[in-house]
Amino acid sequence: MSGTESTAMPDSPGPIPGAHAEGSPASRPAALPWGRLVYWSVLRELWEHRWCYIVPLIVAAVYLVGFAIGAARFPLPLLQDFLRTGAMPHVKVVGARLLEAPFDGASLTLMFTYLVVAVIYCLSALHSERSDRSILFWKSLPVSDTTTVVAKALFPVVLLPLITFVITVLTHGVMLMLGSAVLLARGVHVGALWAQIPLPPMWVALLYHLVTVHALYWAPIYGWLLLVSAWARRAAFLWAVLPVAAVLILEKLIFNTSVFARLLLSQLNGGEAAVPYRPGGAMTMQVPTLANLGAFLVSPGLWIGLAVFAAFLAGAVWLRRRQGPI
């Protein structure tokens, strides 16, 4: 059809001078910059899903309370021993882990919170606007379905990792101050404590891990959940899980293989070469090496995953164009 016939419009009979802000009524209003539309669309997600930062803040607060209690009850002789003899390598390793563990724990707890929040967000992102009929309001504004879906995809992939990172760093800061205050009250010199906890490298490792594994490698997961939330009329969670379970079970029954399961697992793990692994095989939160970064950038899992992500988003756009209130 003639969507391209968007040339100038003739004056309507007796136009009122200045009735249109853009000059003559013949002019069509110019498009706003796409970045601006995306910005406001992401912001509106944040308004709607305030719980996405409130929940991590509550988790952080609970963790801090637990940490303060732990610090107050930490066996003093053990700590003093360590701080005095910290130079001895084997003690240092044990001691540093003792001191570092709560900080690592905070990172892991908030990272886990992020994943749960991201999954719940994605399942409701394109569903709640249909069930509360507000999709008709959003569609009455000059924001395309593509822009909306992109904004909703940026939320778990960009905004939530950032929020998680910032809240984790703040939590670490408060932990350091809380720990210092408690130890000071118990007569321990805190300077040594500060020297033992390598926070900046921890933050680098955390950010790397968040971006590579949980944002980019997990992107197809978020894309799938967004697609389901655009499609399902109800019980989006079941629609998200059941097809995956069906594929896993059918593959096992028919071929007696578990290729899909391994594929899924390696995607969830972020590709073995891309993140630092301990020799034992467990993922660690150590500072990545350049080799890690290189391996990450050339890993097929990343790029295939992102292609699948894009395909799922295209499907979500296709659906949102056609979907109305439910």
Binding site: G3, E5, D132, S144
Partner: protein, 293 residues
């Protein structure tokens, strides 16, 4: 150029034909009422015009294909579905911020002025507002957009009579001008009769009658006829006859006013009465098609 131009516009959901080849052309500066029973195709027509659903046939709104360029079209078209579409979690201030953020023709100062006349507070969430206030807010947002076409789909559904009247008064006095076009559907035909410049009856996905209000007023006449003149009046072939308190009211299409005046006081009928007469006759004649719902 016409604001809306459709040729052979058709939409089927499976075997159900919602729009059965509609032709229409709406010029700027009109207020068109789309009138029809539930399931007649009104909402489907509006959804097509707004680019919310794909369709068959040719449709241009402000020279654009709505299905392919909805976001571009929405820079010049405003739309109120009904009172329940503003998200309940949204704050009034956020609604203003967001629309100002994404709409190139939104005049925030105007919206603020319109809101200042109401009791709506900026910090309130939509869920804290009454139905009437939500409509006032939506109307303030829409009226602050310098659009060329405003589409209203049952905009006053569920509102009490006071707000319904205010709604149309505000539209007419503060918004409508010769450059704008308004397209409205409603069940409460009688309350918009004196607002409309044109109306269109839709029935079974087809246009049963399309007429301007000037034409309507010259063409249709209604007269309550005393029993002794009834036979004579019926000679003039009324299209409809109804009994009110034992007296017959006859509805005429195209009858000479002078002739009718001998039977009693000649009035312009309500659109709803003509609607009933036209659609009733169409159904009696079997013209309105088969068993589509």
């Amino acid at each position: 150029m016409a604001v809306i131009e459709a040729r052979a516009l058709r939409k089927a959901y499976g075997k159900t034909v919602a729009l059965d080849g509609i032709d229409l052309k709406i010029e700027p500066g009109r207020i068109l009422g789309l009138i029809g029973p539930n399931g007649a195709g009104k909402s489907t027509a509006l959804s097509s015009i707004l680019g919310l659903i794909p369709y068959e046939g040719k449709l241009e709104v402000l020279g654009l294909d709505p299905w392919r360029s909805r976001d571009q079209l929405m820079r010049e078209v405003s739309f109120i579905a009904d009172v329940a579409v503003l998200p309940r979690w949204l704050r009034v201030s956020q609604a203003l911020d967001y629309v100002a953020g994404v709409h190139p023709r939104f005049d925030r100062a105007k919206a603020e002025r319109l809101l200042a006349r109401t009791a709506i507070r900026r910090g309130s969430r939509i869920r804290e507002l009454s139905k009437g206030m939500v409509t006032q807010l939506h109307l303030a947002l829409i009226m602050a957009i310098d659009a060329r076409l405003l589409v209203l789909d049952e905009p006053t559904l569920g509102l009490d009579i006071l707000y319904r009247k205010q709604f149309y008064d505000a539209l007419l006095t503060d918004y409508f001008d010769r450059d704008r076009t308004i397209l409205v559907t409603t069940h409460q035909v009688e309350e918009i009769q004196n607002v409309l410049t044109d109306f269109m009856f839709i029935h079974h996905g087809r246009i049963a009658l399309s007429c301007s209000m000037e034409e309507f007023e010259t063409r249709y006449a209604e007269v309550t006829v005393p029993a002794e003149h009834l036979a004579a009046a019926r000679q003039l072939r009324p299209i409809h006859e109804r009994q009110v308190f034992g007296r017959s009211t006859l509805l005429f299409d195209g009858a000479e006013r002078g002739q009718l005046e001998q039977f009693g006081n000649v009035r312009t009928p309500g659109i709803a009465d003509v609607f009933v007469a036209v659609l009733g006759n169409a159904t009696d004649d079997g013209q309105a098609g088969s068993s589509r719902s």
